[in-house]
């Protein structure tokens, strides 16, 4: 099977600072990739390259066999992106905003309207469909953002901390949704700091640190390599130089004279 997303020797620097130092990844259809790493590891840079937001990288990125540099528009049409920061035009109503998104994805108006109504209703936002979003809570905005990423039924869905701000029930909905989308053949690229969720949701975990992939495999494979412990422990073990319990000790010592 051909990989649906393929990164070959991807490098990216901001000025003198090299953020990605040769990322190699092949992702296959139907996989849920848990993409994890500490702050500043290069997670969001990778995501931005995949979404076509950053074009001055080195190396080769192809999606469904299309070279990202050659035809970014075709690639963008296949990707649904839910950004981490709840950036949306909040003077619009969810219906207006999603309608706009639909038009940018070249969707027929009737289809878009139908889907928008159904999706918002499923998220329990029926009553708020025609309210401006500047009064929305973080969770409500997140629901609109998730809808905007799924609206055009993309093959690849990139989720950056999609659960932030959601209440427990909505978290269950989204987690369930992720596994159903994967079963449907969608490829999901899931970035998060919440290790327990990544552990459960993803069937392949990619751990990056300082711009390189340092672990790649299913949770079980990682456990075999790193000892039978939780993802949180594995993550800490692989990415932190100092012992974390030392830091906690130092914090406790701060109380001392």
């Amino acid at each position: 099977m051909d990989p649906i997303i393929s990164l070959k020797n991807v490098y990216k620097s901001y000025g003198a600072k090299q953020v990605l130092k040769g990322i190699n990844l092949d992702i296959y259809p139907g996989q849920v990739i848990g993409y994890i790493g500490p702050n500043g590891a290069g997670k969001s840079t990778t995501v931005k390259i995949l979404c076509g937001l950053i074009s001055d990288y080195e190396g080769e990125v192809s999606i469904e066999g299309i070279n990202l540099k050659q035809d970014p528009i075709a690639v963008k049409a296949k990707i649904g992106y839910v950004p981490e920061l709840a950036e949306l035009y909040d003077v619009l109503t969810p219906v207006e905003f999603l309608g706009f998104m639909g038009e940018l994805y070249n969707m027929p108006k009737e289809l878009a309207t139908d889907r928008i109504t159904k999706m918002l209703a499923a998220f329990g936002l029926e009553a708020n469909m025609h309210q401006r979003m500047d009064t929305f809570s973080k969770g409500m905005r997140q629901k609109v953002l998730i809808s905007s990423g799924l609206l055009h039924n993309p093959d690849i869905i990139i989720l950056d901390e999609p659960l932030s701000g959601l209440d427990a029930n909505s978290v269950i909905i989204v987690k369930d949704l992720i596994s159903k989308l994967a079963k449907d053949g969608k490829t999901i690229f899931y970035c998060s700091h919440m290790m327990d969720v990544v552990e459960k949701v993803s069937d392949r975990i990619v751990l990056i640190n300082e711009g390189t992939v340092i672990a790649d495999g299913s949770f079980e494979e990682l456990q075999q390599q790193q000892g039978n412990q939780s993802l949180e422990k594995i993550f800490a073990h692989m990415t932190s130089k100092d012992s974390l319990s030392d830091a906690a000790d130092q914090l406790m010592n701060a109380f001392g004279n």
Binding site: L53, K76, Y89, E103, L104
Partner: protein
Amino acid sequence: MNIFNRFFLRAVLLPSGLYRKMGVNIPHLKAILTTKLMMDDRRVSGIQQTRKKKLKKEPKNTTIGSMLATAIMGCVFLFAFSVGKDYLTQLTIYFSFYIFTLTSVLISDFTSVLIDVRDNLIILPKPVNDKTFVLARLLHVVIHVSKLVMPMALPTVIALGIKEGISGFLPFIFLVIAATLFTIFLINAMYLLILKFTTPERFKSIISYFQIFFAIFFYAGYQLVPRLVSKTLISGYSIASFKYAFLTVPYWFAAGWQYLHDFQWNSPLFIYFLLTILLPVFSIWIVIKYFAPSFNRKLSMIGGSESETAPVQQKGKAIVSTTSAYISTLGGWLTEKGTERMSFLHTWKMTGRSRDFKLKVYPSVGYIAVYMVLLFVNNGKLSLDNMHNQTGPGKFVFMSVIYFSSFALMMAIYQLAYSDKYKAAWIYFITPIQSPGKLLSGALKSIIVKLYLPMVVLTCIAALIIVGPQVIPNLIFGIFNQILIITFVGYLALRDIPFSTQQASVKGSGFIRGLVSMILPLILGTLHFFVYPYLIVIIVLGILSIIASWLMMDALKNKGWGKIQVKEYES
């Protein structure tokens, strides 16, 4: 969407065939423009934002509102035609105002409206090609500028049309377009210049200083110019008497109009007409060639939430606080240790760094300053002599300067409760603060030191030089009366913890407070005016005023939780 937006949208989409040939996706273009215009319609525009408080209702159809406001401003411009004896003079003045106003309005709109950094995350990940995106942005700028320019120029177009017919307004329309293009170039250049000397983080505060400056400048111009220059002088003035006028850009536009109006091929004014054509062409060329490429990138850094652009703190280099040592010392003298001093220093920093606060308060301080100047200008009989002897108008001006000065602080006191980051005030409600009144008195003292003390120093120096040391008792009495007024108003007005309230919640008691802050200076000022010559009375009253100020401040300090509104914030 209202009729104007629909009209503009249709107008800019007329050459759709051409756009399509250029490789632009028309449905995308239309969708982006429609959405952008819809959002503009719900946003309070630059022309209104410095004056109006946040609206309670959801802003709707703000386009029509701001177009009306702009049209009224356009009518004000007509005054240019009452100055000078020829069109050349009048239009030079007109175009000066036009370029100046347009610059001041657009300079803030450019970052907030036209270059929305959210676009980068919302539109760019979508399958929209670059040409469509760039054209959408460009057309949005064109529509936005037209919405300003059209109502602004309309009154003059009509006036010139009536007075001069077609040869009056057609050249004018042409020149207004040229002047507009030049202004856009000017703004681009200013932006690039500012960005060259400062970091994107500080950029927004610099823009807000521009806005403050423009607001004060307008007020000063509006108040002072007609008074400074006598009527006969104005109507007889000709720009020709100013030898270097031909070096200024507005003069070129005025001469360009004159050339087109007279329409004599061999007129020497031809050179200016040529300049008015070349200038915008040259400006646009520079914008496209040099500014535009780096412009968007730099602008997107301004609102960037990226950690990549965050300043890297050098290790081992301590963060130097801008609150200098002398403020801490001053706080040490004026405030009680603990809560009050903390509040004093905190308010000092917050008012110095909060863009919102500065934008609300500094213009009103500037207006008062203008008004003070006006007191001197307005008074024909004022002379150094009667100021020195404190008789007649001299005494009146002296009293007015002292008693007006407290007005500058009123806005600051009302503004004290508000902040963008009002939710951060939870810290006051979870910490064990015994006497919240000290938060208020500390904040009030901070504002007095920051805004009133410089005025007091200036007034004292001026009074001592002009009048001499015999003025001291009256000066002290006057100044303490001001402090009494300020603390009294503070006592009435400060019912919220500083910086704990959202701007939108406007309270009903504003009227009473406004009345008190107007009437109190008037009563005390009148009283002072009559007892002015009696030294003993002044000394006794002065001591009483000091005691009263002290007691008032003490009362504020002892305000308990019962008199302070405790906030509950939703998540």
